[in-house]
């Protein structure tokens, strides 16, 4: 029931907004079409402005992954993370999630296949992916769009949010699926 309603919402929301906003504005005597074109002008420039910071971030992270640093870090961290309830198969999620959304979904698919979707590891990896974001991409796009190069506390705060999300995922899965096979 609930899931059906939510599915419907996610399908209907965009078309309704795209049609509904101009329709509502028309009743408010807004010159809808010229105003739309005026506002839309900025889109291309913003996307182009995002290119340099995004290249900087994506290249650095691409080098990091190609260098094998992730595997080395995973080997280093494995004893620590398995002690706090993160199985070795789920560990790549913790390392990859802030860097790449696509790679994170890849890890989810891997763990679901190797451990099964209804296992502890399968549920944990799903919750981790759903409760955190691609931190570095978000920062590069939002700050890049307006030409900010000094992020101040944004990066540590964003990484703290990721860490809290991962830790809370472990606690939530353990607690909510207690005794569930």
């Amino acid at each position: 029931m609930l899931k059906g309603a939510l599915d419907a919402l996610s399908i209907w929301a965009i078309p309704l907004l795209v049609a509904g906003i101009p329709a509502w504005a028309l009743t408010r005597k807004v010159k809808v079409y010229p105003v739309f074109v005026e506002g839309a002008k900025e889109g291309f420039q913003i996307a182009v402005r995002v290119i340099p910071p995004l290249v900087a971030v994506v290249v650095a992270l691409g080098m990091l992954r190609a260098s094998g640093a992730m595997d080395a870090l995973a080997a280093l961290l494995a004893p620590l993370t398995s002690a706090v309830g993160i199985p070795a198969s789920v560990l790549p999620m913790v390392l990859v999630r802030p860097l790449s959304g696509g790679a994170a979904l890849g890890v989810v698919a891997d763990v679901l296949r190797s451990d099964g979707p209804d296992s502890y590891a399968g549920r944990l990896v799903s919750v981790m992916a759903g409760s955190t974001e691609t931190t570095f991409y978000v920062l590069a796009v939002y700050f890049g769009a307006i030409g900010i190069t000094r992020y101040r506390q944004a990066l540590p705060a964003a990484l703290a949010a990721d860490l809290a999300g991962f830790a809370a995922s472990v606690v939530a899965v353990r607690w909510l699926f207690r005794g569930v096979p």
């Binding site: 965009i14 900025e42 290249v59 700050f143």
Partner: protein
């Protein structure tokens, strides 16, 4: 950011030398640079569409009413932003789109919010407390239904693909609280330049 960036670059080269994977780096560098451009240009369509719709919504007074609706919460989170700033409406639309999982719409709204916040920035080029908090909020996913994860679970044959919803919401809430708390607690560790200081 400069130190972190150099650390990542140099660290990768050193690790690649140690693990003997240097041969993989040139390809990864070129491929990553290309992918970053593809990612950016991939935003053009949705950015253009939603920035246009956003302007229409603004002229119709929708953005302002939304901002007013969320004012009690936003005023506490962003005390430095004037209550009638158009940024409030953009922030509200961004958060709402994120919760509904409309990533395509959330990004343009978020960029619009950052632009509006930048208007009140005394030091262009350096993030304000409000901008840092807003970005940190966006890196803590507040999505009500993680649709792509549920789809993957369904494809993998889960008994109830959506049974992770409650746990995900709980973890998201913790991440969001951590984002707000740490952005607030750390703001004095990263001081903004004094007013009128030359641009770095």
């Amino acid at each position: 950011m400069s130190v972190l960036w150099v650390l990542l670059l140099v660290g990768s080269v050193v690790v690649a030398a140690l693990t003997g994977r240097m041969a993989a780096l040139p390809g990864a560098i070129a491929e990553s640079a290309g992918r970053a451009v593809t990612l950016s240009l991939g935003l053009v369509g949705v950015l253009t569409l939603w920035l246009g719709l956003m302007k229409v919504a603004e002229e119709a007074g929708l953005v302002r009413s939304l901002g007013r609706l969320a004012r009690p919460v936003l005023r506490r989170l962003f005390p430095a932003v004037p209550a009638d700033s158009p940024a409030m409406g953009a922030i509200t639309m961004n958060v709402a789109a994120n919760m509904l999982g409309l990533g395509n719409a959330a990004t343009p709204f978020g960029i619009k919010a950052m632009e509006e916040l930048e208007r009140e920035n005394p030091h262009p080029g350096t993030a304000t407390d409000a901008q840092a908090l807003f970005c940190a909020l966006n890196t803590a996913s507040v999505q009500l239904v993680p649709a792509s994860v549920i789809a993957l679970r369904a494809a993998a044959g889960a008994r109830q693909p959506a049974d992770i919803l409650a746990a995900t919401l709980l973890a998201s809430a913790c991440a969001t609280v951590a984002a707000v708390a740490s952005a607030w607690a750390l703001r004095r560790l990263f001081p903004a330049p004094p007013p009128g200081a030359p641009r770095a």
